[in-house]
């Protein structure tokens, strides 16, 4: 079973290896051919060498027999004839020897003109036979004549033949040597080619395997290195579509899943931490504000108790009265602060189920509730009958509206009859509501500060500084926004807030 990681390259690999292998086979076959030829050449040389030996032997035999024959003929005289006859017998035996050699020679295919000069040798032997026969007949003179006429001629031909044969043989041996060295060179060349072919196949194999394994692994490592779970803008750098279906691809996919999970968890954790931090900051500010603002009336109470004691001693009844008022005022203020704080802390804890209700209906109910202070201030409140509906905790929004209308009445300014308008319109997924008055307005610099807990701009007007903090808290619990629009002091104030609309699904909350 081929590992999947090697499958994409296996086709290419097979092709390359196939091509290389066929090349290799061709080269190898050629090399085998060369070796075959080389072997043949060696055989041939061996054969030539054997022929050479035979030929030498043959020559020696012929030459010996000729020398003897010459000796017989040259040194011949009547007295010596018996000895000569013995010599002649030896010579004829040598010719006989030649006969058998020549037959052996004929078995070989290349006999360097042997066939051509065999008749000459036979002729020579026959001539010698006739000379020896003449000797036997004691006819020395006649034998000399035959020798003179025939033998010289025959011997010359034989010598020429021997020389030519030697020459041809030498050429053949030399040629065979050249051929052998040529074939050796070829064999070396093909060996080198085979070596390079093997080296190339190995290299290509390594490169392909390297590509299919190392490359994806490097990519994966890079992606893992680059991955930052804390940053939602960066994903896992490997694209799922580009991943192969092999082992590394599966590994990368697993990594991606883990990375996504990690990122998801990290973002959730970050969000949670942010929320906790926000809550912590809120709590810190709350504790600080409470400790400061609740301590204040206590300092007042204790301070004026001290002053009261002194004023009682001196009998200053006017001051005694004022001291008592300060103490009562501080105690009342503390009571109000505690009530408001309780109210504020309940917003986060007690959540009524959101319901759909019309802002017109809500405003009508609040106006009815506040009828007393509205009548006393001579305020006029206008609102549309067809304001959009919202989805929210109705009791809380009631408090918001109550606070805003009360503020609008309270901060009307001297000698000014409050004119208050409540309006609302749908903006996308939200309903934006505006409570507008013609009162004292707000310096733009303090538009944010008015929402702070216990923050008050106008000390001359009754209040604990909790009202708008409460409004902000309630609207923010509903994920809405609240802000103030005012052209400045004396220009009236618009408090605006947004609440979720029931008609459109909110995307950002899902």
């Amino acid at each position: 079973m081929i590992p999947k990681i090697l499958q994409p390259i296996s086709a290419r690999l097979a092709l390359v290896i196939g091509v290389m292998l066929s090349g290799f086979i061709v080269i190898a076959a050629t090399e085998i051919g060369v070796f075959d030829q080389l072997n043949q050449a060696f055989d041939k040389r061996e054969q030539l060498n054997q022929q050479d030996i035979l030929l030498h032997h043959f020559e020696e035999t012929i030459l010996a027999s000729i020398i003897l024959a010459n000796k017989v003929v040259l040194e011949s005289d009547a007295e010596a004839i018996p000895g000569l006859l013995a010599l002649s017998e030896d010579t004829l035996a040598l010719f006989g020897q030649y006969q058998s050699d020549a037959e052996a020679f004929n078995l070989l295919q290349e006999v360097y003109l042997a066939q051509e000069y065999e008749p000459v040798v036979f002729q020579l032997r026959n001539d010698f036979h006739s000379i020896v026969a003449t000797f036997r007949e004691q006819n020395l003179v006649k034998a000399q004549e035959i020798r003179k006429v025939i033998l010289n001629k025959r011997l010359n031909i034989l010598e020429t033949f021997l020389e030519e044969a030697a020459e041809l043989r030498n050429i053949d041996i030399a040629n065979q040597g050249v051929r052998i060295s040529e074939l050796k060179q070829q064999a070396t060349l093909y060996s080198l080619l085979i070596f390079f072919a093997v080296a190339m196949i190995a290299s290509i194999l390594i490169i392909l395997v390297n590509r299919s394994i190392t490359k994806p692994l490097t990519d994966l490592t890079h992606a893992v290195d680059q991955f930052d779970p804390g940053n939602p803008d960066t994903g896992f750098a490997l694209e799922a579509g580009k991943l192969s279906d092999d082992e590394v691809g599966r590994l990368a996919r697993s990594f991606e899943v883990v990375a996504q999970q990690l990122q998801h968890n990290e973002l959730a954790r970050q969000k949670f931490v942010d929320q906790l931090e926000q809550k912590n900051i809120e709590l810190e500010r709350f504790t600080y504000t409470v400790s400061h603002d609740l301590k204040s009336p206590l300092v007042t109470v204790k301070g004026f108790l001290g002053l009261l004691e002194r004023d009682l001693e001196s009998g200053d009844t006017e001051r005694v009265k004022k001291d008592m008022q300060q103490i009562t005022g501080a105690a009342d203020k503390m009571g109000n602060l505690l009530d408001d704080l309780l109210e504020l802390s309940r917003i986060g804890r007690v959540v009524n189920k959101p319901q759909k209700f019309s802002l017109s209906q809500l405003t009508e109910e609040v106006v009815f509730l506040l009828q007393g202070i509205i009548d006393n201030s001579g305020a006029s409140i206008k609102f549309d009958d067809d304001m959009p509906s919202v989805i929210a905790d109705k009791n809380r929004i009631n408090e918001v509206m109550q606070n805003l209308l009360e503020n609008a009445v309270k901060f009307a300014g001297e000698n000014n009859k409050p004119k208050i308008t409540v309006s609302a319109q749908q903006i996308g997924e939200w309903v934006e509501c505006r409570v507008k008055d013609n009162g004292i307005g707000i310096d733009p610099r303090f538009k944010e500060k008015v929402f702070g807990l216990f923050d008050r701009l106008e000390l001359s007007i009754e209040g604990t500084g909790v009202g708008l903090a409460l409004v902000k808290r309630i609207i923010e619990v509903h994920e809405g926004k609240v802000w103030i629009e005012s052209q400045g002091i004396g220009q009236g104030t618009q408090v605006c807030f947004t609440l979720p609309s029931p008609f459109l699904k909110r995307v950002n909350n899902e």
Binding site: H292, D293, S296, K302, G303, F304, F454, D455
Partner: protein
């Protein structure tokens, strides 16, 4: 030269949003051996206007330039720390001794106040006896002992 020798009254600018506390400070200083004049403003913006001689505070007779500022931290409109920062970054005002007088003993407030170069930081004591004693000491310290930064 100090104010006892010159016979000038000490002019204090009291920045305090709590009317009752302001009354307590004023009445403590009434008992004081050293002659003094207290001017009271109830929010941070008024304090800055007063010191810069802006708006209604350009009348030197009615609103004399103070020798020392008693500054509360939690103030309407402009916060006490911001008032302090603006005084201490203002070329003309930064020599002004500013004493923080507040109910808060929070470490953060103390640290921030000194970060902004407050000259002193005191916490309003709960006990009235101690309150009066503190006012007495502050009066003596800034009137009798402390050298006026503008004194040449």
């Amino acid at each position: 030269m100090n104010k006892i020798a010159s016979g000038e009254p000490l002019i204090l600018l009291l920045v305090e949003d709590n009317e009752a506390h302001a009354e307590m400070v004023k009445r403590s200083f009434e008992q004081h051996q050293v002659s003094n004049l207290i001017r009271h403003v109830a929010d941070g913006q008024a304090a800055l206007d007063y010191l810069r001689r802006e708006g209604e505070y350009d009348d030197d007779k009615k609103y004399p330039f103070p020798h020392c500022v008693l500054l509360d931290l939690r103030l309407p409109k402009v916060d006490g720390l911001e008032v302090l920062r603006q005084i201490k970054t203002n070329e003309k005002l930064r020599k002004m001794p500013v004493v923080i007088l507040t109910t808060s003993a929070a470490e953060k407030d103390v640290a921030m106040a000194y970060e902004y170069h407050a000259n002193s930081y005191v916490v309003k004591p709960m006990d009235f006896g101690k309150f009066e004693s503190l006012m007495n000491d502050l009066g003596y310290y800034w009137m009798a002992w402390n050298q006026d930064p503008w004194n040449e």
